[in-house]
């Protein structure tokens, strides 16, 4: 984004994704509040300094019978009364769409300080009902209605398509799950940090790792998660003043260096039909990634020190590996076998644990990915820190590989 004004990330906060807010008898208003107040506290930005707020959320109407989530931001602090706010929805990419809106407004010069919150409360309903709600991220009537757990089945088909074009071993998918769970154990906010997991369990085939849709088993799935994450974005004008008052250099504050955003056909079968003959199974996802590089002035994946990707299922991370160009198309298994995607590997993916390990509060995930990238490039990720990281990239996907957003976040 060299020709356009810079947008800085001052920091943020996420709630502990292991919490069950229904058991705590909490409304998502509490989750919004904890996320936003946590972000203000950790950045030492005053509520009165926030000029606009964007909320990413997928389906509060279904899970909580409540819409109009932008208005809930105003409830957090008396200083927010009258603030311009809004809510953004693009299924699992809702958080990233909220971020894009906030970035564009700052670049347009409308505002200098923006708070972006991603939020989802999902444990309000039984698993099967929640699975049905998630089906609305597909073409519900044609792909999900009357189908038990439609999304594992759709992402099972992504695996099947890889298998057809290039060959795919389930053992490589189990390895992806194992890495995500192992990383999550290092993340004090990850949902699965205390769960029992090892490589042989990930590869097991009994009742404790049942099939849920096609080749997708329990360990291949991301989690049903309650959580919010909030980040504070700023113009260079505000970031300069902020750096001065914090006694740090402007260069030490990360900024959005690039972004990509494309939306494919809604139905999975249509996406796959369109990509027949292409080297990439989901070409618009590849374009999203390369757009972000181009805007960031980065040639390829070697220009980023790590990736927070959308592993809603192991097959989506398998897809991401070759779409990021870590391997040639169809050869993602090589990166898995070589250990490149592990925390200490040459292309670490999801040091946080990702959606499988850290958890996947649907509308929150895009914001959580940016927050984790912020932590990585500022050296504040604690035990899941990628040594020396300066540039990180996200990939957030809504639906069955439909709405795709990627950000490159880095210092200097």
């Amino acid at each position: 984004m060299s020709q356009v004004p810079e947008v800085y990330v001052l920091g943020g906060y996420q709630t502990d994704f292991a919490r069950n807010w229904t058991k705590e008898r909490k409304h998502f208003a509490a989750m919004m509040r904890e996320g936003v107040l946590g972000a203000l506290e950790s950045t030492q930005v005053e509520p009165a300094e926030i000029q606009v707020a964007h909320v990413g959320n997928f389906a509060a109407e279904l899970y909580c019978k409540q819409g109009h989530l932008g208005a809930f931001f105003v409830e957090v602090d008396p200083a927010f009364s009258g603030l311009p706010t809004g809510r953004h929805e693009a299924a699992c990419a809702s958080g990233s769409i909220a971020l894009l809106a906030a970035i564009a407004e700052i670049q347009a010069g409308w505002y200098d300080v923006s708070c972006v919150v991603g939020i989802e409360q999902m444990k309000t309903v039984p698993a099967s009902e929640g699975g049905d709600y998630l089906g609305t991220a597909a073409w519900y009537e044609q792909e999900a209605k009357g189908v038990e757990f439609p999304f594992p089945k759709l992402f099972g088909k992504l695996g099947d398509e890889y298998d057809k074009r290039y060959g795919l071993k389930d053992d490589h998918l189990a390895a992806i799950a194992t890495v995500n769970y192992a990383n999550a154990k290092l993340n004090p906010s990850a949902q699965t940090r205390t769960w029992y997991m090892n490589r042989s369990h990930a590869g097991s085939r009994d009742e404790f790792n049942a099939a849920v849709g096609g080749r997708i088993r329990v360990i291949d799935c991301s989690q049903v998660t309650d959580g919010s994450a909030a980040v504070i974005l700023a113009s260079s004008k505000f970031a300069q003043a902020y750096a001065r008052r914090r006694g740090v250099t402007l260069e030490s504050i990360p900024r959005f260096r690039g972004w990509g955003h494309h939306t494919g056909r809604l139905k999975f079968a249509d996406k796959v039909a369109e990509s027949q003959g292409d080297r990439y199974v989901l070409p618009h996802v590849r374009a999203t990634i390369t757009d972000a590089w181009r805007r960031a002035g980065i040639a390829d994946v070697n220009g980023v020190d790590g990736i927070e990707t959308h592993d809603c299922f192991t097959t989506s991370e398998y897809m991401a590996i070759d779409h990021f160009g870590i391997t040639a198309p169809g050869e993602s298994w090589k990166a898995i076998e070589e250990g490149w995607i592990e925390l200490r590997g040459k292309h670490p993916i999801n040091p946080s644990g990702g959606l499988i390990g850290a958890g996947h509060p649907v509308g929150c995930t895009g914001v959580r990915q940016v927050l984790d990238s912020y932590k990585q490039v500022t050296g504040t990720a604690g035990n899941y820190q990628v040594d020396g990281a300066r540039v990180f990239q996200t990939l957030n996907i809504g639906g069955s590989g439909t709405t795709s957003v990627s950000f490159v976040i880095g210092r200097a």
Binding site: D16, M31, S189, Y196, N198, S200, F208
Partner: protein, 448 residues
Amino acid sequence: MMAVGLRNTAEMKNILGTRRIEHVVVLGANGAMGYGSGALFTSAVPRVTFLARTKQKAEDGLKAAIQAVRSSTVANRVDTGDYETAFDRAVSQADLVFEALAEDFDVKRRALERVDRTRQKDSIVATVTSGLSIQALAKGRSESFRKHFLGLHFFNPPNVIVGTELVAGKDTDPGVCDFIEAYATRLLGRTMIRTSDTPGFAGNRVGFKVLNEAAQLAAEHGPALVDRVIGPYTGRALPPLATIDLVGWDIHRAIVDNIHENARDEAAATLKLPAYMASLIASGTLGNKSGGGFFKKAGKTQLVLDPRSGSYQPVGELKLPDLGYIDSIAALQRDGRYREAMALFVEAPGPWAALARKVVAGYVSYAFHRAGEVTKGIAGIDDIMGFGFNWAPPSVLIDTIGLVKVIAMIEEAGLPVPRLLADARSKDVSKRFYMNPHGNIGRFFVAA
């Protein structure tokens, strides 16, 4: 902050390099603590031997371990045996012997004597006990045993509750404690708390004081009212008497008797087991495991104990006083307004709010009086109450209510004000007490 964390990480790595744990033997592997901890060990250790009185019981423990963590792969790392034929061979090969036998001093002492005779000289021996003296259990053992012996107090169920107490005896090698702390933190995902070898250690000392006080209050006010008044809204996942039913009345008695007899602190009166509990335990009332305690179910009807008569009546037929103040507090908590909720708690009129404040003030006062006695500082007590009991740590209550108001609550209850709080009041009333950056204080206030 960050630099300290990194130094700790480097230190931990160095300490972890000092020895290897490749074989753990679990004694009492058919009990909940035995198989639960055994399952946990398999996540880091290549070989775990489950021992019990019979091989069948050890096998039952393995089955329970598989169910507990929901993975058949536990069996890949576990072998089983009985005490008669497998004990000596397994213990002589083990890097860590984990004793999880019944909470009975003589049973444990006899087993540890046998371990002492058999173990390889550098192996670590850990006991899981809810409060028996580590020093007393080590008495009479060899020098090598005493150097390598410590208390490792997992809370049940160990694969879910991460708060864990580490207790050294007088002769325990500090290097062994450092290693176990690093090992359990990094490889078993524990939140480790170092405690003194005092009755009930830290968590049970502070926690059962509150639980027993609730049981005492139930004699006069009845269990249903007490559990509502000292309910989740006061900073706990489960009401106190329901907790005693879950833990078991016999375990409750063992813990409070031990503390009452051996600790003799300023709150001794609240640690005396109520007479009605003693007589009901004698006639077989042990809580949920015996079919009921303070509460039980008859079909779909929830029944509650009348401590005076020992009989039960449907909860629905009770006439509780107006407790609308609790609904108002819970409504604020539901929306995440924890400070406002607790401000309402402090101001709430009537005898029941006053009673709740007395118990909460007693908890904070007692916990801060124990800082320096059962743990080095209040942080250890905060961690075990938060991550062992799932209660709002005392420091969280102070940060949420405000120091001045908490001191006023303690004074109003006629309880001693801990020096740590009095000092803070004279220096900096806005001092923040809870220091865990990942604590999510809101989680401790359940809106009910």
